[in-house]
Amino acid sequence: MVSAPVQVAPPVQAPARVRRLPRWVAPVAGVVAVVALYVAFRGKAVLPHDDDATLFHWLNDARDWVDENRNSSPIFLYVVNYLRLGAAGVYEGLQAGLVALGWPGLLGLAAGLGWLAGGWRIALVSFAGFAGVGVLGFWEASVETLALTLSAVLLSLLFGIPLGIWAGRSHRVRRIVTPVLDVMQIMPTFSYLSPMVLLFLIGPASATIATMIYAMPPAIRITAMAIQRVSGVAVEASESLGATRWQTLGKVRLPLALNTITLGVNQTIAAALSMVPLTALIAAPGLGEDLLRALARVNVGAALVPGVAIVLIAIVLDRMTRAAAQRRESGTRARAVRWGGFAVLTAAGLALVPAMAQEFPEQWQVQIVRPINDVVDWIEAHWYTFTGFLNDVVAYGLLNPLQDVLTSAPWWLVTAAVLVFAWRVSGLAAGLVATVCLLCVAALQLWEHAMETLTLVLVASVITIAAGLALGVAAARSRWFAAGLRPVLDAAQTMPSFSYLLPAVALFGNGRFTAITASFIYAVPVVARLVEDGLRAVPGTVMEAARSAGSTDRQLLWKVQLPMARGSLLLAANQGIVMTLAMVVIGALVGAGALGYDVVAGFAQQEDYGKGLAAGVALVLLGVMLDRITQGANGRRSPHKKRNA
């Protein structure tokens, strides 16, 4: 209908007319078409949820087959079972080692390692953090969580660093590894668990392997980047003196990449700590167990305390590795002081072991569950008008209508809308991938639940991106605001993901809005930071030129900064959406339902295993779809990338 007047118009004017067509016409026409089709076909070709779908039964049968043949099929007998035993061995060894240190020994070792990494400040942080875990009354569970985390990190690094070095050295390997890592990074945590259970049963071995897989991508990615970034001149100088490849690797590349690789270790630990508590779903020991049990009973106080313990562990490990990554080469004297301090602190801790009780002393523990619950009760009693109102507005104003639309629209209309939208934003290839993902979700018989999850993600990401954009712009324009925001964002990024559920639960109880709130708190820091960095990356000379032409601040923002930061803004949107999905899924633990709940139920009930497994896959597909749709940022830059390669 748009082209009709063009044919009628005189030929001379025709091109001008086409060009002058306002830019909003095509999108508006698209929206109008979708709405019209929706109204016409509403309720037809919908895919209602069916708990008894054949696929789920088929998956259950597959699980049964695996269970029956676990001890006879050669692939289990000679490969899978050994992997399980190996992972379990690593965990049990580490756990036994940490327990054998005794709590004073572990505190001494933590302080010593802190000292080694970053002097007395970090030593103090480590000591205080681990002591705090004991004071909270969760020493034993924390040691189990620590052992689980460390064994997963150890294995991640064992495989991740060599793979990263290889990828850093070989263009071909990098080309194979990068897309795999991309997908791994957008996979919600839950989707790792079901297949692990199938292969490795429930328990710490499965948990270790799932966490290892989840935590490996940053190790590989950052190692590869570190190796690639090593100064080519230094490498060439080494080669010109006749060094072999291994000599250059060991004496030039690795030492020069070491600090960045340590940063990769930091990221690996952070990822592992996000995953480890969730592995309690597959019967892994540790703090996650207490946390999940309390969440299930909506006992906020009892959930918050182990949550704080995990956050403390996260802070200690983060500060320690971050300090180690910033360490510079120093003289022999400084080295002696560093190792001496380490030895003294560790020895002091170990010396106290025989003198102290084996358990962390009870008189040092504080009970804070009750006071927390009192606060939560008070909030519920006094703020309910506000929180309830907010909850209702989002639920009845946004979630329910959107969910109604998505679940009552014909599947082909939703798919077509996704295709057209993704095509426009990120190009044809991305659009096709997104469409295929969505069709696969339909084939998994999980359409309705996927639409429910999608609803949550859309609402949460719109809120998150809007707030992140505002915060980022404010931080980029005001030094004061940025200085205030930065430590908050830094702290937020160290926290394991599920810990964001806790304040949300305290405020809003169980439900979908809690999941939205949690993903908001989880993703806003990243979005805000990307926006701020993008705006700040606009070259000073360009800003100066615009200012000298007489731009107002507002014009500067709209005409210079935002357009030039386009790549960062799109990346921020992409990250915001992917992170929101990750969190919304975890929100199933606090009653957000949909696909996340299907996964959780799959662990709890034997007969729901098939549905849980399918839901895990559906989550991956949904993640890939959302990522592709918003990948315009990366896609558009690709021609330059190719030219550089």
Partner: protein, 355 residues
Amino acid sequence: MGTAAIEVRGLWKIFGPKADRIIGSPDADLEPAQLRAKTGCTAAVRDVSFEVRPGEVFVVMGLSGSGKSTLVRCLTRLIEPTAGELRIDGQDVRAMSAKQLRELRRHRVSMVFQHFGLLPHRKVVDNVGYGLEIQGVGRAERHEKARRILSLVGLEGHEDSYPEQLSGGMQQRVGLARALAVDPEVLLFDEPFSALDPLIRRDMQAEVIRLHREVGKTMVFITHDLSEALKLGERIAIMRAGAIVQVGTPEELVGAPADDYVADFVRDVPRAQVLSLRWISRDPEPDEPLDGPELPADTVIHDAVPAAMASDRPIRVVADGELVGVVSRVDLLGAVRPGTGPVAVAASAGATGEA
């Protein structure tokens, strides 16, 4: 002349897909820009031949992108040449196995880089000892040797510093010391002083001249700076678009540029300070007195001025005890005048490009 320290014959380096097919085909004669448009390949070094005598300082000079840095890297196959012959001390470098090549790099040819290429995580002494370390020399011995070399380049007392604590000039001295520490026969310099301030650069040039006198290594020196080339080079090769345009002594380049490109290059060189009397001497006129002051033919024109001032008779230019010609005050003034040159006379000196 004896065997050359380095002998290069018909060397090619073409970057890009199927580069080896271009050599010998008509495409090889294309200008680099045309070649890139046609085949997607970049010819960085095109049919280069030269020889470096033992103990000589041989300068390769050209603008950026002329292929000089690629050329010097081809010499030890840091960049693998596409075609051509390459001998160092009579041995065929291109035929060497990986192991032989390593031995060559470890013991016989070492290199100084524009951006130093020092290892920031190692002390100065360990940077200098790096070449010995990868040869498997023990710690005590390589430290002892490194200290000795550091004092040779004027860096005693800085052994335990880290590179970032040193100034750019000092860092390049470390780079120089690292190259010297393995006691190579040949030193390759890839624009070693381009990243330095002008004053420091002058010091470092003097340092290289001094080292050459003291240790007498064969040196191949890459630069884009003509004055540096004239100052250091016994012979200079001028590169343009991957090919060598002319090889010759500074005098030959200034006095007898092979083409307009070279002429353009050396236009602003003060001739009187580069050319010798040989270039402006002429047969005496029949009535000219031949009892003026006598000077050797290789005296730089500039240095003949005091003699011309002391006597109004034409200077008698002699070589090997024989009179080759005379130079009057007018000839001298003509040579000193900027913008003109005794190009017409050049042919008589018989200087041509190919060495």
